[in-house]
Amino acid sequence: MSTPTLEKHSAALDAAEAGATALINVTLRIRRFNPEEHPDPVWVDYQLLMDPKERVLDALNKVKWEQDGTLTYRRSCAHGICGSDAMRINGRNRLACKTLIKDVNPEKPITVEPIKGLAVLKDLIVDMDPFFQAYKDVMPFLITKGNDPTRERLQSQEDRERFDDTTKCILCAACTSSCPVFWNDGQYFGPAAIVNAHRFIFDSRDEGAEQRLEILNDREGVWRCRTTFNCSEACPRGIEVTKAIAEVKRALVTRRF
C-alpha cells in the first residue's frame, strides 16, 4: 500500500529539484543566411545569460524574442518528438530542443548551423522537399493483398518487436543530413528513407517487401551506404540506423540468392 519510499534522495534528484541554477554567460554563434539582405551566409555571435539546464532551443528563442527577431528556424513541440529542429550544433546534428546547454560545453561559443546536404533557404531553415521525396519513394505504407480480415490482423509480440526500433522515426532528417554520401550526392535515398522502408519490410503484416527491396537495390539505394555510422550517432530517437540498413542489405542478398 502507501509505503513511503522517499527516505533516500539521490544527488541527481536533489540537483533536479534545486530549481534554476546560477545563470551563466553563453555565446551562441549562429550561421545566418538571409538572401533578402545578402547572398552569402555569415556567422553572427549572440551573448546570452542562460540556465545551463535549458535547451539550445531556449537559447535560440531568447535570441529571437529578445535580441533579433529576424532569426529564423523551425520548432514546434520543444521536446524532441516533432522533428522540426534538427540542426548542426557544435558540428554535430542534433535537435535543438533535446540538447541542453550544459551538455555542449558552454565555456566556448556554441556553434549552430543548418543541417548539411539540403538547400539552405534562410538561416537554419533548409528545403525539406528532397528529403520527403526520398521517403515517399520507398512506398512507406502497409501493402497487403487479399481481403481484409474483419477484426485486426494478428501479430505476435516477437513479430511486433522485430521492427519496433524503426517505428520510432520522427523524420527529422538528422541522419540523412549527417551522411557523408548524402552530402556529396543528394540522389542517395539516405538513411531516413531506408529506416522507413525497414519499418515495413520487417513488418510481418506487410506484403510489399519485394517491391521496396527492389527500389533500394537501386544505384542510389542501400549499396551507397559506407557504414560511417554518422546516422546512428545523430539519430535523436536512438534508432540503430546503420544496423537497420545492414538488415536491409542482408535481406536483399539472401532474397537474391
Binding site: 538571409n34 547572398p39 546536404g117 539540403l118 552530402w183 550526392d185 542478398v253
Partner: protein, 164 residues
C-alpha cells in the same frame, strides 16, 4: 555566388532555385539558396533493375577477405621474412616465379586487388565528381588504367622468362 552584387540588382528568376517552380513573387532573393553539391531531383531515381550494385558490394567484401590472406602473406614474405626491398632483385623474383604456386598466388592477388581497387575507386569517383561528364571521364580513365595494369601484370607473370 557573386557576393558583392547587391540583391536588388539581381535578376528575378522565373523559377525558384530549390524547387524549380515558378513563384512570380518578384522577390529577387528567391534566386538564392545555399545549394548542396548535387540536390536530389524530383523524379524517383531510375530503377537499375539489375543486381550490379549488390554484386559489386558483395565482391568488395569477399575479395577483401581473400586479399587479407594473399596480401598479408605477400607482405610477410617480401618485407619481413625475406628482409625487405633491400633483398629484392631480379634473381629473387626469378626464384619465386619458378614455382607455379607463387605464380598463381601473385596472379590471383593481382586480379582481385585490381578489381577491388578499381571498384573502390569507382565508388570514390561517384561520390565526389559533381558533374555527370566529369564522372564519366574519371571513371573511363581509371577503368582503362586498371585494365591496362591487369593485362600487363598477367602478361608479365605468364611470359616471364628467368633466362632473359
Amino acid at each position: 555566388m557573386a557576393s558583392d552584387t547587391p540583391v536588388d540588382q539581381l535578376v528575378v528568376p522565373a523559377a525558384q532555385a530549390h524547387t524549380g517552380q515558378g513563384l512570380g513573387t518578384g522577390n529577387p532573393a528567391d534566386a538564392f539558396v545555399v545549394e548542396p553539391a548535387r540536390a536530389r531531383t524530383k523524379r524517383t531515381p531510375r530503377r537499375t533493375r539489375t543486381n550490379f550494385e549488390m554484386l559489386a558490394w558483395l565482391f568488395m567484401r569477399l575479395s577483401g577477405i581473400v586479399l587479407v590472406v594473399l596480401i598479408l602473406g605477400h607482405l610477410l614474405i617480401m618485407l619481413v621474412l625475406d628482409g625487405g626491398v633491400s633483398k629484392i632483385s631480379f634473381a629473387f623474383v626469378a626464384g619465386r616465379w619458378a614455382s607455379p604456386f607463387w605464380q598463381g598466388w601473385d596472379l590471383l592477388m593481382l586480379w582481385l586487388a585490381m578489381l577491388h581497387g578499381a571498384n573502390g575507386m569507382r565508388t570514390v569517383i561517384n561520390d565526389y565528381a559533381e558533374k555527370d561528364s566529369t564522372r564519366l571521364w574519371l571513371k573511363t580513365l581509371m577503368g582503362a588504367a586498371a585494365v591496362f595494369t591487369v593485362l600487363l601484370g598477367t602478361l608479365v607473370i605468364f611470359t616471364f622468362d628467368p633466362n632473359i
